[in-house]
Symmetry: C2
Subunit: 239 residues, 2 copies
């Protein structure tokens, strides 16, 4: 699949590299066409990796990963342009972290709204799926790093888009079907973004970001908010 | 131990009953001395159970459980009185849920403050430990209901108080040592209270409150924020 990865930080390069490794073609997008980190990333990955502006990357991608920092996401997506994003699935990995008061960060938006919802409102013709934002990026692309069962949450208004994201998480990153948990519509992104404060404190208490949330007691086959027959064929384990 | 349970709802009666079952003497406190639900609870439990005002219960308790609804907690604790709570460990189970906008609830305080911190500031001579607020009350008192490992989080400024709460969770409710995770000072209560929005949505997605959060990858022996030698003797598993 052709995939845009917006953002040149650790999350963008980790996710981009893993997607190329899984056989996808990835354009890394940034504010400028000649971002040195994007260039270095593309060179290190080689075939399947390219880079350019947010707009060029978004135009290229059939699916778009938002790996920009939460505070910069709306502006980055505006630069990408509504036209480039129209009809596409946008996987939103960003968290609206506010470091202006120092550590630990607070959130710029929470409780009665979320970054995921802000993005969906700003780009109503794009199908936003909040996902992967509740863990360190090395775990996003390699869930086996953390022993035992643990979860990745999906939030979004479009069931087909969530099914597509679930299929990609399984194919590209190795997420087991039973670990992909559909929380419901995009307003459930409030819940996963509001996991960040305890995530940050867990990092402090444990001394490592190598952990992930598991919902103990959740059935091995998570319910899907709406009937999505195709997803079963795509990512269910063999009978 | 003599324990006060403030609040006559499902949380208070479930916790109170379990504490009596573990050999403790429990006074259930409420606004009035003749609350019918408190009277019914005490009658159904029998020996070891009593009831009265918030003040009477708090005076009786060597440890105090705040099981009131979050919106009513500060007023209930003011009725109990700073003098009755002085020097004691207050286990705060409440969440600042705001149902005024309908379902799902938002929080009345979050992000840069928490109910746990508000209570600690209002009662500086009481040692507040936020705990158990991230799960259904039936799981609080019987963690074995949920299969596999899962966690209970502690937040508080006083290491000795957290050690006492951890010991009681192990003795009275059967929490394994390795499932008790000390997050740090009382400001970490922001993190656990902010778990409620995703908890509520998980309840919706799973159709049951019979689940709990597990931090996959956390070492089996959680770090304790400060050295607390006694807790090891009290709740550590046999060598």
């Amino acid at each position: 699949m052709k995939i845009a990865v917006l953002g040149t930080g650790v999350v963008g390069s980790t996710v981009g590299t893993a997607l190329v490794g899984a056989g996808h073609s990835v354009w890394m997008g940034s504010r400028t066409p000649d971002n040195p980190r994007a260039a270095q990333w593309a060179e290190s990955v080689g075939e399947g990796a390219a880079y350019g502006t947010f707009t060029a990357a978004a135009r290229f991608g059939e699916m778009v990963f938002n790996c920009t920092s939460g505070a910069a996401s709306l502006e980055a997506l505006r630069q990408a342009g509504a036209e480039s994003l129209r009809g596409k699935v946008l996987v939103d990995l960003a968290n609206p972290l506010d470091f202006s008061r120092g550590m630990p960060p607070s959130l710029t938006v929470c409780n009665t709204d979320s970054l995921g919802e802000q993005i969906q409102r700003a780009f109503p013709e794009t199908r936003v799926v909040k996902a992967l934002n509740t863990m360190s990026c090395r775990i996003m692309v390699d869930p086996g790093r953390v022993p035992g069962r643990h979860h990745v949450f999906l939030s979004g208004d479009d069931a087909r888009a969530k099914a597509d994201v679930a299929a990609l998480l399984a194919q590209a990153f190795g997420w087991p079907w039973e670990s992909i948990l559909d929380l419901g519509d995009i307003t459930t992104a409030r819940g996963t973004e509001m996991l960040l404060p305890v995530w940050v404190r867990l990092w402090g208490a444990l001394g490592t970001p190598e952990f992930n949330f598991h919902v103990a007691g959740a059935p091995a086959r998570p319910p899907v908010a709406e009937p999505v027959p195709d997803i079963v064929a795509i990512v269910s384990p063999p009978a």
